[in-house]
Amino acid sequence: MTLAQLPLDSYGSGSGAGGRGARVHASPPENNRPHPSTSSLHGLDWFVFFVANVQTGFGPFVSVYLTAAAWTQVDIGLVLTIGGLVALVGQMPGGALVDAARSERFVAAIAVIVIGANALQFAAWPIYPVVLTAVVLHSAASCVLGPAIAAISLGLVGPEHVGERFGRNARFASIGNGLAAAAMGAVGYWFSPRAVFFVTAALLGPALLALAYIRPAEIDPERAHGGRAEQPPQRPLSSLRSPTRLRPLLIFSGCFMLFQLANAAMLPLMGSVLTMRSSQWATVLIAACIVVPQLVVALVSPWIGHRAELRGRRPLLLLGFAALPLRGLLFAVVHDPYLLVIVQLLDGISAAVFGVMVPLVVADVTRGTGHFNLALGIVGTAIGIGASLSTTLAGYTSDHFGSAIAFVALAAVAAVGLALIWKLMPETRPGEKLLIA
């Protein structure tokens, strides 16, 4: 709780992590209890941070860079579509690969090195085959990197405390994204769009350094994949197929698909409405609309992780899902640009719940299966499908019926997701005995 309430400075002193370590020891004794060291925990913090930095470089700057390199819009669109497809299709194989790996650190290191090399490729040769290869490899590496970070987290702290850990990951990822977007935006503006990719590649160094601080001995490979030593090897995936696990997993995937179907296009749509309404301040307002949710995520994620361990997942899921239709409706009726930025606070709440709850609930559901990362890949695929359809849905609706109706339609989709969570999603928090501490 104290950790959650301390804002961004909880890292520096080291007392925050120490306090949590003490709490781990105070828990009821159990065999094979995780004892993550401060070095490992801080290493993970910064690894998440630098990975977020690196990934930001690949986000919006690809399109800007290729445009500046005199690529046609057709080619840029094609390359990005292929990259998106690979990112979607690769989710499940990526998760399965991480599940099969015995050293998550090694997998993560390889993925980061590949991404760094891709950034250099981009910067050096903006020609079609090179860029296409880089985009495909980057998508594939990202499919591995996300699950690897989740696995390292789970392997380090164990399922009882992984909620807080995921909260902390979300905080550092959000800060990393925000700072990197600002810094790379400045680099792109003052130097060149190409320089952004050199910076991205250079961030490979600190990311690997942070990874080196995570002590491999403290990552229990069984724990990291949601498995336990008691689990005898059976037919592949049989443990995941049992109805008590599969049902919540599928409900959860479906709900989050609806979530992203409603969520992904909301900010871009609002951005284009803002560009139409205000010229002087549009850029600043859109920047604020991107930054405000990031700040909220950085502030509240650890609290959400902690709260999820204390009171359960359902109330927070409902909170995150309720914020989304409300936001859609407010976007439809609010016209004052400055109020819109305030409405974006809701985006932060949804995003924080999303960032913490996806790995956490999947970890709950797959406890004792050894398929944590594969299941994460299944949910990731569902989310990816929702996100890619979202733009189409929003674009079509706003072209034909106007942006207000489009916002209402997105809100309606989100409301269906909320209703499903309310009606169908069970509480997945492990039993009370785990929370006595």
Partner: protein, 188 residues
């Protein structure tokens, strides 16, 4: 599917470049229209390179028999434009030029610029009148493209969409009706 548009673009660009070089050379007699020994670097780039061998000739009536000729244009006289930043006359950032719209005769009618937004969020492609663009290849700061419209004037412009009618924003006409376009009522 993917080889086709690139070849077409390359071919169109080659034709465009060849055309501009030709016309620029015709109306500018300060430059020698034929092999100028003073500029060997530019010269080597010019010969019949723009004719991809595997394609049917772009001008079927003349290509095989006509001797290709080379034109040398100083770099202060011409510039490439795709992907270049566009600024308003007041110096505002107007985005990048991403495409050119031509009519049946091949005359450039409009430029498509990717306008506004931040980090890719909220940016929109809009078509602006070709005549509203001013090119200054000789600018020592690096070639720039200036648009005779301000951000305020283009902010309400409808999005340029491939395949639909193109709404071209002009600097010459009266722009008063533009802000009245209600983004919600804008059909198709």
């Amino acid at each position: 599917m993917r080889g086709q548009p690139r070849w077409a673009v390359a071919l169109a660009a080659a034709i465009l470049v060849a055309g501009t070089q030709y016309s620029a050379a015709k109306k500018d007699d300060r430059h020698k229209a034929h092999p100028a020994p003073s500029a060997p670097a530019a010269q080597t780039a010019s010969p019949p390179a723009p004719a991809p061998p595997s394609r049917p000739p772009a001008n079927p009536q003349g290509a095989p028999g006509v001797q290709p000729s080379a034109v040398v244009v100083e770099k202060q006289e011409v510039q490439t434009i795709l992907g270049k930043a566009v600024r308003s006359s007041a110096g505002e950032d107007m985005g990048r030029l991403v495409d050119v719209v031509v009519d049946r005769e091949g005359q450039a009618r409009a430029a498509v610029i990717d306008f506004g937004g931040f980090l890719g969020v909220g940016s929109r492609k809009i078509a602006v009148d070709w005549k509203a663009l001013h090119f200054s290849p000789s600018d020592p700061q690096g070639s720039t493209i200036t648009l005779a419209l301000t951000r305020d004037q283009v902010k309400a412009a409808p999005e340029y969409k491939d395949g639909g009618p193109v709404v071209i924003l002009s600097a010459l006409g009266d722009l008063q009706p533009m802000p009245a376009i209600n983004p919600q009522a804008q059909e198709k």
